[in-house]
Structures are given as structure tokens and as C-alpha cells.
Symmetry: C2
Subunit: 192 residues, 2 copies
Amino acid sequence: MAVTTRRADAQRNIAAILTAAAECLSRDPAASTSEIAKAAGVGRVTLYGHFPSRAELVDAVFVQAIATGDETLGQVDLTGDPRDALTRLIESSWHLVDQYRALLLAAQDALPPGRMRELHADPMARVERLLERGRSENVFRTDLPTTWLVSVMHNVMHGAASEIQAGRITSAQAAPYITATLLAAFAPPKPE
Amino acid sequence: MAVTTRRADAQRNIAAILTAAAECLSRDPAASTSEIAKAAGVGRVTLYGHFPSRAELVDAVFVQAIATGDETLGQVDLTGDPRDALTRLIESSWHLVDQYRALLLAAQDALPPGRMRELHADPMARVERLLERGRSENVFRTDLPTTWLVSVMHNVMHGAASEIQAGRITSAQAAPYITATLLAAFAPPKPE
DNA sequence: GGTAACTCGTACACTGGTGTTCGACAAGAG
DNA sequence: CTCTTGTCGAACACCAGTGTACGAGTTACC
């Protein structure tokens, strides 16, 4: 974008808008630009001066969230027994999902279809790589496509987030539930 | 509802609106009352004459869908090995989910929170009963709450519906994937 | 201190839906 | 055949949000 020389206060405002948007959208996925601007201590016009539309703002917020999230995920030790590695990865991923759930909903109906998946490419590749390794070591099942397993992981986590929001389970219970469920779902089918 | 004496054409129109709404909402969860009225071959005013608000219309459509769906589910044989019974139940449920997915999204943001769950009570009880039986026969795991297992089933199915919509799997593949995943997830943990 | 970049509030146009009102007209029930 | 019930279209008020235009004021930069 050739950010040649933004004035200092402009940069400060952009940052403020970004973090305010993250907060507001996490509280209410349908938060309006007015709310966000107010929360950022900035006029609505200023907001539109930096982000041409609400959609692009949401996109920017989401990009940032993915970036920091993916960085966290990058620090997870994925070596050793794939089952243990997956447990660690789930733990970390779950925290992120739990945290960014509402933001994700916001992105879902503000961004063009496919954009979400595009942005999730890196974290998804991480999971896929681990699953592939587990498959080659015969500790994960190979009778279902890897992409399906990734999808299951994704949906179980988001389902857990819904359960929490509905008050049926607590955030603390969720992680072990998810882990227990997915490890069983991903194990090779019994020889029977 | 004290349907004392509706005139015949009124009843016909109500039915037409209901089925038209089901169609429209299945195509586009955000379908407007104008679209629905037009599809029903009825004036918008007539629609409002029978349903006080869009929300109540969506509710009525949803109630109807649940009723017919639950009837279908009632015909599934749930006796014998719980794993086989679950397979059959998944098969039937999956068809319904696949069919009514968009309608469900419509209900999600037109109905007050909790209403959906309320309407899902019967089909959910059906699943729970089967799971409980399987648990008592030691073919389903007991280390996780039944409600959690129900939630997993729910989310895996809806995840599959998303995958189909995104064109990543086909409707035919979905059922066996779901079954294979859930049977593994619900089995008792290995003694190890 | 001059200048360009930036911000602010108010106001406005536009959009797309919801729900209501009106009066004229059609159709079913008895 | 009449009267009630229902229907129709067009028009309207309303709402909430998005994005734009203007002009005056402020702030950073050199």
C-alpha cells in the first residue's frame, strides 16, 4: 500500500480503531461503524478516512487476529507422539477459538465467501501437516480425508464455543472434552 | 389456537405462504416478506394478515419442519446394537439436516435465543435416549456428558453441510464420513 | 511559522427492509 | 342474496445502517 509517510497521529488512530473494532466486534458481531468509532475515541468520518468500508475494516481486524493467533500456534511443540502433539495444538487452538469466536461470526457475514478460508490457510496447514504425520505413523486413521478431519476439529471446537455461550458447559471443561472427543475420532478404526 | 372458522381461501393461502416460505428460506435465509408473498402468489398485506411479523412466520415454518422431520425420525428402528441403531439414526438425521440447513440459519437470526433449542427438544431427546442405552450396554463412552455427545453429533453434521455447500465433499460422501467419525468418537476409550 | 496532512461534527442521500393504513373489490358461508 | 371475512395494491412512516460532502479547526512535520 506504499505507506510512504503517515503522520504519527494518523497511525495512532488507525491502531486505536483496529483494537476498538476487535473489542466491539467480539462483543457484538454486528457492531456498527459508529460504535467502533466512538469506542476508538474517533469520529466516524476519520474511520472512513482510513478504511473505505466496513467490510475492509472487518477484514483488517481479522487479518490481524489471524496473524497473532498463528504466531501463538507457531510456538506449540508439534514433535513427539502425534497424539500428544495434537493435544497441545488443540489446547492452544481452543483458546484462540474461544477468544475470537464472535469476531469470526462478524467476518462470516461481512467478508465475501471463501475469504475466511483463505485467511485460515496457514493455521489449517499446520493442523494438516500434523495429521499427515500421525497418519504415516499409524496413530491417526487413514480411512477418511485429512480435510474432513480438519473440518471435524474445526466444528467440534466451534460447537464447544456455542455450548459455552449458552451456559451449558464452562470454558475449563471444554478443552478436555474436545481433546477426548477428537483423539477418539481420529484414532484408526479398531481391527475388530 | 381456536381456529374457529377460517374461510376456505384463507386456509389455502396460509398453507401456500407456509410452503412458499419454506422454499424461499431454504434458498435464501434472509428472504424478505415480499419475496415470500410473491412466491406464494399472495399480496404482502395478506401475509401480514396471517402472520403478525416475519419472525412469527419463520417460527411457524420451523415448527412445521421440525414436526415433519421428527415424524420421519420416529420411524427409524432404534432397537438392536446401539451402534447400528445410531448409524440408522444418523442416516435419517443427516438427510434432514442437509435439507433444512438454510432454514435453520434463517431461524437462527429471526428467532429469540433459546427458541431453537426448545423446538429441537424432541429430536434431541431421541438421540439422548439412544446414547444412554448404548452407555448402559458399554458400547458408548461414559467419560463425557451425554449432552456433549449430542452437541458433537449436531456440529459434525452441520459441519458436513458446510463442506457440501462449499463444494468440498458431495452429499453422498457425507453420510459415511459422519457415521465413521461419530462411531469412533462415541466408542469407549481404549483400556490402553 | 507555514504548509500539508489529518480530524471533527453535522448534515445529507441512499438503501432495503418492516409493518400499517386505506378504500375498493372478491369470495365464501348461511 | 347478503353480509362477513378476506384479499389486493399502492402508498406511507419508520428505522438503522452505510457511505459522502463540506468547511472549519487542529496537529504534526520541516
